[in-house]
């Protein structure tokens, strides 16, 4: 359940931003999570509620924007979209893929009072 540790990371960022920018209540936390990242969005939502309790993000809604997995296919010399790491290139069927996008785990924005 590393989602718990990731949620602690999110709350750490939110609290730092609250101190820096002077807000006391967060209504929405918007994350950008890549399809090839280390996160199960459902587990993340489950953990977030527990970790956010008694912080500025208590009761905040967690919104997750999923970004697609993108890889460079060396055989085709072009970018292709993949859903999993073990998927072949959708064009040529090969596995000579270098992941170039979709590994993000980022706090994108906050909706605050």
């Amino acid at each position: 359940m590393h989602e718990m540790a990731l949620c602690e990371g999110i709350i750490g960022i939110v609290e730092e931003e609250a101190r820096k920018r002077g807000f006391a209540k967060v209504n929405v936390v918007c994350l950008e999570i890549g399809a090839l990242s280390h996160v199960a969005p459902e587990a993340m939502k489950f953990c977030f509620e527990a970790v956010a309790a008694r912080t500025v993000a208590q009761g905040a809604k967690l919104e997750i924007v999923e970004t697609p997995g993108v890889a460079w296919c060396m055989a085709c010399s072009k970018s292709v979209e993949i859903k999993q790491r073990y998927e072949p290139c959708p064009s040529c069927g090969g596995y000579q893929l270098q992941v170039t996008g979709g590994e993000e785990m980022r706090v994108r924005e906050l909706e605050v009072d």
């Binding site: 590393h2 540790a5 931003e17 999993q84 073990y86 785990m105 706090v107 009072d113």
Partner: protein, 229 residues
């Protein structure tokens, strides 16, 4: 709701760990220490493999070991029995080591000037993939008693590793283990992963593993030192 405002943040969730990992990496670099992060499922044989490796390499390198487990100091004691210093980190409920834990443990090891640091992560093929510890690279230990399709089931870990050590190779004949298929699956996930077969029990394949380590150790030495050797 008119009082709501949107604040752009754009910060990595693992940013804090990544910064601490970068600090560790700079310290290892300054001490000329080559650090490996060993990952696997529980029972793949990481500790047995390390016991053999540190026993056989301690004449050539200063070596330190950081052992991560949820509970007990059994693994660190097994390493210490070889005469090599080991620090046990208990993560409690945690499922992985993080960069801060490694920084603390490294402080408690003797100075490894020019040596090797082996970090044995918590036995878990999921969570440790996400947490950079500052290592030179991850080594995933896979054993022949596991299914050949494990690289497909846990792709993040095999994608994050530079070397796959296939342990318990002495058992392969009685297991109908398909080595070619395992390597094929691992390279689907990570076309660049290097593969070595070993047996921590018999010592088979360890010479090639040590050669792999020595090649990395030479590659990280400053050019002036390499020239002087």
């Amino acid at each position: 709701m008119s009082s709501d405002r949107i604040i752009q943040v754009e910060r990595d969730i693992l940013g804090k760990n990544d910064r601490l990992a970068a600090d560790n990496r700079a310290r290892f670099r300054a001490d000329d220490v080559l650090a490996f992060n060993l990952v696997s499922s529980p029972g793949a044989g990481k500790t047995s493999l390390l016991v053999r490796a540190v026993s056989e390499l301690k004449g050539s390198f200063a070596i330190g070991v950081i052992e991560g487990d949820q509970q007990t100091s059994n693994d660190a004691e097994r390493i210490r029995a070889t005469g090599v210093p080991a620090i046990q980190v208990n993560t409690g409920k945690g499922c992985h080591l993080d960069a801060a834990m490694v920084a603390d443990a490294y402080d408690r090891l003797p100075w490894l000037n020019g040596g090797l640091l082996f970090i044995e992560n918590v036995g878990n093929l999921v969570c440790p993939a996400a947490f950079d510890l500052g290592e030179a690279c991850k080594i995933v230990v896979f054993s022949t008693t596991e299914g050949e399709d494990k690289p497909l089931k846990y792709p993040d870990m095999f994608a994050a590793s530079s070397l796959m050590l296939i342990n318990k190779i002495d058992l392969a004949p009685v297991l109908d283990f398909d080595l070619a298929k395992t390597i094929e699956y691992a390279r689907r996930v990570n076309p660049n992963i290097e593969v070595l077969t070993v047996s921590a029990r018999t010592g088979e394949g360890f010479a090639a593993f040590y050669a792999w380590i020595r090649k990395r150790a030479v590659a990280m030495k400053p050019a002036t030192m390499t020239a002087a050797e």
